[in-house]
Symmetry: C2
Subunit: 201 residues, 2 copies
DNA sequence: GTATAATGTCAGTCACCACTGACAGTCATA
DNA sequence: TATGACTGTCAGTGGTGACTGACATTATAC
């Protein structure tokens, strides 16, 4: 019965993440979480000591950390359209993997020391990576880029908006999919960044 | 003392919106709300009957409704850069005015019948208005627009992302302001929509 | 077969919280 | 000065929810 201990904690964490992301930390009872995990409430407390600690443990896995950095250093082809597409996809992959954790983080209500800071550091890192990418592309003469930081930021905000929209509004816009959005957004940036001289009609 | 009744309800609603947007519906007690409004808990219940009803009443003001439609029919100059700028500004004006209500809506936890539906209808309306605008601009020969719906959607998502980012991350990106973002985003769309022939380097 | 570790059951504690009733105070108006 | 509309105080009630302790149960390992 030694290996069951980890399995039990895992079940509880999954149930907690599921329920809390739906109904909020204060909207779920430890009883409900235990039931959803097919375990007794007592077991929950034996493993985590408190509801708050259970949440903290659940949120610890919230670290895509190095993944973006590695992606940027290994997967880029220095071909704008291609790269922006794969960056977008990677972004949504990562975000969707942590979908429920992000939902919890947004609903917040809960104050875990340092958590917000840790969370906000990811998009800052992405902004840096993306900015550096644009700068290099500019140096290579492949794009015309006057303000790389703001352009990277704008690109990110579009992705972020689409993700949050999908997260909480689901399929609010009939006939519009995330894939289509990514393609159109990349097209717009490619067109905008590969103009030789600004067109003045 | 007749006019005080409305003033009292107003105070309570304001306090409720402030606190609930911060800590979530289940994270605030009626006691706290009453204190924040400098009124007794009893008065709160005399006015609204229940905590839930207080929230519902607070959320009823959440209707920018016609404002966007009127703006689109009256304030546009049919000059792309100018119009996209003023649309962006109007959007953020409206969103910021209802900042706290939107925060409550996102944290959700609360299930008020029909509320979510009512809320989601606003961005859908904006999408329609913006799409129609692009179509007309295309017909006027002022832009080259292959896929107006997706382009309007992309423009919206960028605004939405920037708003949500500002809402919950505050000043996470030092040196980047909302104003700068709006300008850069508009520039990107203008460049992208006013290319006569796609440049292939 | 017995020790050990993990879980379940059950009854219960304690604090908090939405909400109430009874009574008293305050102020404007007639 | 009396009435009425509004608010405050206070002492409650009933329910819920996080968390505990004592004891029984199961499975595994030696």
């Amino acid at each position: 019965m030694r290996q069951n201990k980890q399995g039990t904690a895992e079940k509880l964490i999954r149930a907690a993440v599921d329920l809390i992301s739906e109904k909020g930390y204060n909207g779920v009872t430890t009883q409900e979480i235990a039931n959803a995990a097919n375990l007794s409430e007592k077991t929950l407390f034996r493993h985590f000591g408190s509801k708050q600690k259970l949440l903290e443990t659940s949120l610890e896995r919230f670290q895509y950390a190095e993944e973006m950095r590695i992606f940027f250093s290994e997967q880029l082809l220095w071909e704008l359209e291609n790269d922006l597409l794969s960056i977008s996809k990677k972004y949504h992959d990562i975000m969707n993997r942590d979908r429920k954790l992000i939902q919890i983080a947004i609903k917040d209500e809960v104050h875990i020391p340092g958590f917000k800071e840790r969370r906000l550091q990811h998009p800052r890192q992405l902004l840096t990576l993306l900015t550096d990418y644009l700068i290099t592309m500019n140096e290579k003469g492949k794009i015309v880029c006057s303000n790389p930081t703001m352009q990277a930021f704008t690109f990110m905000m579009a992705q972020y908006g689409a993700f949050i929209n999908d997260l909480e509004a689901g399929n609010n816009y009939p006939g519009i999919s995330l894939k289509q959005f990514i393609q159109e957004n990349v097209k717009i940036f490619v067109r905008s960044l590969t103009i030789s001289s600004p067109s003045t009609p």
